[in-house]
Symmetry: D2
Subunit: 350 residues, 4 copies
Amino acid sequence: MTRIGVAMLGYRFMGNAHSRALGAVRQLGAALEPDLVSISGRKPEALEEARARLGWAEATTDWREQVADERVGLFVNGGPNALHAEPTIAAVRAGKHVLCEKPLALSADEALAMWRAAGDAVVHATGFNYRFVPAVRLARELVRTGELGEIVHFRARYLQSWGWDAVPADWHFDPSIAGTGALGDLGAHSIDLARYLVGEIEAVSATVRTFVPGRAVDDAFVATVEFENGATGTLEASRLARGRINHNAFELNGTKGSVAFDQERMNELQIADRGAFRTVLAHGDWWPPGHIIGWGDTFTYEYLHLLQAIAGDGTIAPEGATFEDGYRCALVCDAILRSSQSKRTEAVKQ
Amino acid sequence: MTRIGVAMLGYRFMGNAHSRALGAVRQLGAALEPDLVSISGRKPEALEEARARLGWAEATTDWREQVADERVGLFVNGGPNALHAEPTIAAVRAGKHVLCEKPLALSADEALAMWRAAGDAVVHATGFNYRFVPAVRLARELVRTGELGEIVHFRARYLQSWGWDAVPADWHFDPSIAGTGALGDLGAHSIDLARYLVGEIEAVSATVRTFVPGRAVDDAFVATVEFENGATGTLEASRLARGRINHNAFELNGTKGSVAFDQERMNELQIADRGAFRTVLAHGDWWPPGHIIGWGDTFTYEYLHLLQAIAGDGTIAPEGATFEDGYRCALVCDAILRSSQSKRTEAVKQ
Amino acid sequence: MTRIGVAMLGYRFMGNAHSRALGAVRQLGAALEPDLVSISGRKPEALEEARARLGWAEATTDWREQVADERVGLFVNGGPNALHAEPTIAAVRAGKHVLCEKPLALSADEALAMWRAAGDAVVHATGFNYRFVPAVRLARELVRTGELGEIVHFRARYLQSWGWDAVPADWHFDPSIAGTGALGDLGAHSIDLARYLVGEIEAVSATVRTFVPGRAVDDAFVATVEFENGATGTLEASRLARGRINHNAFELNGTKGSVAFDQERMNELQIADRGAFRTVLAHGDWWPPGHIIGWGDTFTYEYLHLLQAIAGDGTIAPEGATFEDGYRCALVCDAILRSSQSKRTEAVKQ
Amino acid sequence: MTRIGVAMLGYRFMGNAHSRALGAVRQLGAALEPDLVSISGRKPEALEEARARLGWAEATTDWREQVADERVGLFVNGGPNALHAEPTIAAVRAGKHVLCEKPLALSADEALAMWRAAGDAVVHATGFNYRFVPAVRLARELVRTGELGEIVHFRARYLQSWGWDAVPADWHFDPSIAGTGALGDLGAHSIDLARYLVGEIEAVSATVRTFVPGRAVDDAFVATVEFENGATGTLEASRLARGRINHNAFELNGTKGSVAFDQERMNELQIADRGAFRTVLAHGDWWPPGHIIGWGDTFTYEYLHLLQAIAGDGTIAPEGATFEDGYRCALVCDAILRSSQSKRTEAVKQ
C-alpha cells in the first residue's frame, strides 16, 4: 500500500481525535497508509507526552518545520482557531494536502484567503466531521435521491451546558484565539449541515448574545435563515442550556418526508414519509447492524474519504467539506454577526 | 351547589371539546355546576345533531338570542376566528362571563376592543388550554419558585403535517374567517406559553411563509424573539412538517435548570437541574400517578379554573389566560407579520 | 335515544373512572343513554359525597337494593375483589347486565361460577379496560389481519413502585379482600392482553414472591408462558420497581413484524415490519390525530362497546372481555400460583 | 513502555474488533504496548487479506505455531465456539495469557477444564465486552456503593431479528461449531451481566425453542431466574424479534433505585432513585461528555484492563470476566437447557 507522511498541529482534544482515526483507517481499507511523521505544539513537555502516547515519530514546537518537511504529504491543522490561517496557507503553498479543523478561520475574509491559497493544487478539507456520521450521510442520500421531496424547513440546534461552569482562562473565551464563541464552535457545525443537506443560505436574521458577565465571546445565538431554494429555517446554539451535553440536533421537512437527528443518539436517524417517524439505526461498514459507532469514528470516516481524495479524484467534495465549504460557512457566520448588530435581515454576500 | 347557565357558539371540534369538559367538571368538584342552556351555529341540521349528542337543552342559529338570554351566565365562543369579536363584545356588554377560543381576534386592535369591552365587570378567558396541562403547570411552578433560576432561552415549535393534504375549502385557509394560518392557529399557543413561562416578548424578527400554491394564509413561520427579561428564543410553527402530527413542543433553559415538553407526550415533563434530564410524569388530581390524562382533559381543568374564578376572585389570571393575554399574544402575532414584511426586528408595541 | 338504568357498587378510584365514562358516552353516540340510578358503598358519608359529586341519583349501603331495583338494567361492580362474586351473581340472576372489575374473582372456581350464572341471559363484561386503548386495538388489528404474521414471542411487564411506600392498612395487601397482590392487580391485565393478542396460554412456569416483610400478598411475580399456538413468552409484574409508575408494557414479535406498547405513552404503538420500529400515534374518533386521549378515556370506549352489546348483539366479545375471559385469566393466575409452589411447569387446566 | 507480543486466532468479525482495539489502547495509556505478532485462520487467502489490513506481522493456518511462539505473551481466541477449548488450553499450558471470546466453551464441563488449565499461572479473560461499556460500569458502581439498595429484580432481553433471513450455511446454526444458538450467542451476555450486576444465579426455569424449520440450534429462549441473594428475574434472547437489531437491554430494580440500559443507546444509563428515571450519558475518559463512544470501543476498554492485569495484579477480576466467569455463565446455560427438557426449576449446580 502506498504511504503518506502526516504532520499535525495540535495535541489536545483534536490531536487525540485525529491520531486515533489515523491509526484506525488501515483496518477499513484506506487508499493510503498514513505515517505519523510529526506533531507540533507550544508546550514541549505536554507535547512529548502526547507524541509518545499518540504514536507520532517526532515532536516540534515549530509548525514551520512541519510545513517544510519533505516527508510530509498531509498537514492536519488541529490547533486553536487563530492558528488556522497562517500554517494552513503555508502548508498549501508548500504543496501539502491540508485538513484544517473548523471553524476554518476567524472571518470569511481569512477563510477566503485560505481557499484561494489552496486552489486546485492540493486536496483541502475543513473538519466538519458530522458530515461523516452514517445517519447524516443517510439523510443526505434521502435528500439527494428525492425521497424527501423539496425541502421546506430546516431547524438545527446545538446545545451544551458547560459554559456555566467553565473557567475564564479557557481559550474558547478568548476572542483573539477563538474568534467567536458558540457561533463558531457549535453554530458552524449546524450551518455546514444546513448547507450540506439543504443548500446555500441566502439571508439570515439573528441575535448573538453573551449572558455570562465578563465573557468576551458569545454564549449563544438564535437565527432564522432563508435558503436559496426557498426553504426557511432556524439555527440556534448555546453553551448555556442546562441538561444538554452535546445536543447537536436537526430536523428537515420536505414535501414527501422528514428526517431528524441528534448527535447524542448519533447512530439513529428518525425518518418519516407521509406517515409516522421510524427510528433507523444507520450504520457504517464496520460492524454488523445495531453495533453502534462512536463520535471518534466520524474522524475515521473523514480520513477514509480524505485519503481516497488524495489518492484519487483530488477533492473531498461533495461528501466532505472543502475550504470552500469552510469559507461559505464563515460567510453565514459573518452575516449572523452583522444581523445581530443591524437588527435587520442580512444577505449572505460573498 | 350553585348553578350557572352556559351558552356556546360553535358545535364542531371546539364544541365537542367544551361540551365534554362542561360535563366532566362536576366530578372534580367544580365551584359551580354548569347548565347547558343553548348551543348555536349556522347549519340547523348539523347543529341539532350536535345539540342532542352533546347534551345542550336548546339550539339556535342566532347567537344574539344567547347573548340576550337571562338564563345564561357564561358565554363560550368556540366559533371560527372571524366570529370571535362581535359576539364576545356583545356578551360581555350583556354582563356575561366569556370564554373565547384562541386566537382571540383577527388583529391586536380587535383583541384590544374585546378586552376593553370586558373590563373588570365580567370574568373573561382566552382558550389557551395548554396552560392547563399538568406538565406545563409544573414547568410554570419550577419557573415561579426559582428552581430553574433566571431564564436565558426559550424555544418552541408547533408542527403539524395536515397542511399538505388539506382540502382548499377548509375555512382554516380563508383569511376572512381564519385571519392567519399557522401563525394564529398554532403559533398563538407557543406565544402564549412563552409569555406564561418566561414573560413579555419585547421584539421579534420573523419570516412568515406560504408554500402551497394558491393558499391565501401562511403555512409556516419562523421567528427569533427577545424577552423583556433578557432571554432569547425561537418560535416556529408549520402545517407542512411531514411526520409531525400535533408536535406542540418547547424547551426552556435557565441558569439552574431546564424543562422540555411535547404535547404528543403531554403527561411528561423533562426536567434537568445541573445534571441530566429526567422524565417526570406530571399528573392532575384525577387518577393515581402514571394513569395519564388526555388532550380533552385540559379543557376540564380550564373550566375548573374558570368556574372558580366566576364563583370567587373574579379573574382567571394568573394561571388562566384573560382577554389581556389574548390581546398581548395578538400584539406579538402582529409584530411577526410586520417583521416578515419589513425584514427588520420589530418591537412588540402596544 | 333509549335509556338504561345503571347501578354501581364502589365509589372510590373505580367509582370515579366509571362515573366519568358513563357521563361521556353520550357525546360519542352511545347506543343507549345511561341513567345513573344508584351508587353503593359501606361508608355513608363518603358515599354521599361521591354520589353528589359523581352525579348519581341515589346512594345505598346495601347492594342488594340495587340488584333488586327494577329501574336498573346494568350493574357495575367496581368494589374490592372479594366483593365481586356474590353481588355479580345476584345481579345476573336478577337479569341485570353486568360489568365487573378485574380480577373477576378471587379464584378460577369463583370466576367460573360467575360465568355460569351469567350464561347467555345477560351481557357480561370483565373490566379489562386496556383492550380499549386505541393503540392496543391497533395491535389487535395488525395481528388479526395477519400483518405481523405468526406470533412467536410475547413479553409483558407491568411495573409500579408504590409498593415500597404503601401503608399496611391498604386493602390491596389484605388477601381476604384482594386475593393476590401484583398477580391479580397487575398481572391479570398482562394475561388478558396476552390472550387477547396472541391466544390461549397452555402452560406457565412462575415464581411468585413477597419481598416486603409482613406483607400477606405477593409483591411481584415472574413467569414464562407457552401459548397453544406455539409462541413463547414472559410475563412479569411488580409493585417494587423504583422509577416505574404505571409501566404496563408489552412487545409482540411475529414472523412478519412486531409491535410494542407502554401505557405511560398510551397513545403510541411502536410498529415494525421487516425494518425499523416507527412510532404511530393511534387515536380514537374523538379528536383530530395527535390530540392524545387519557387513561380515563379507555373506560368511555369500554362503555361504548358495552352499551352497543346490550342494545344489539348481546355480547361484548370478541373485542371486549366477557366473564369467560375473566375466568380464563383466573385459570392462568391459578396456574402461576401452582407453579410457584411446585417448581414445575404447570398446564393451564380448566 | 514495555511491550507484549500478541497472537490471535480468528480474523473475521471478532478479528476486526480485537485488532482495532489493540491498535487503540496505546493512545489511552495502556500499561503494555501490544506487538501484533501473528494472526491465524483456516483460509489462507482471506487470512492474508485480513493480516495486511489489520496490521499483523505474520499469518499462519496453524494456531499451534502461535501457541509455541516465544514472542507471544498474550493469546487471543476469537475463533468459532468449538475452537475455544483446545487452543486456549494449549496456550495457557504454554504460559500465555489468554483472552477467549464468549461463550467460553460448548459446555460447562469444557469451560471448567479451561479454567482449571489456566489456574493462577496466567491472566485469563472471557470476552464479555459489555462489562466495559461505561454505562454498564456506572450501573455496577451504583450497585456496589449501595445507591440502588438491595436488588429485587433483574430483567434482561437480548433481541435480534437476523435469524429470519439468515442463510442456513451460517456457522451460527451448526451445533458442532456454535454449540447453542441464541442461548450461547446472546443469552450468555445477559447471564454474565446478571452475575456481574446482581450476583450468582441459584436456579432457573426455562424454555428453549427452535422456530425456524430445519434449524439445528435454538432461535430463542425464555427463563425465570432466582438469585442467591433473593432477587428474581427474567432472561430472554431471540434472533427472531422483528424490528430489533441488537437490543441487548436490561433493567435492575433495587430497594432504593433502578437502572435500565439498552446497547443500541449504549452511552445512556437510565437511573431512577425514588422518583423518575433520568437519562445519564455515561462516558469514558476519551472525549468530552456527550461525545459518544461506539460498540468497538468496549474492546479497547477490555484490553486496557487486560493489559493492566498482565502488567500488574495478575487478574482481570472483578471488573473483567475471567475463565471462572465464563464457566459460571456456562453452568447457567446448561441449567437452562436442562430445565427446558425437565419442565422443572433446575438448580445451577457446579
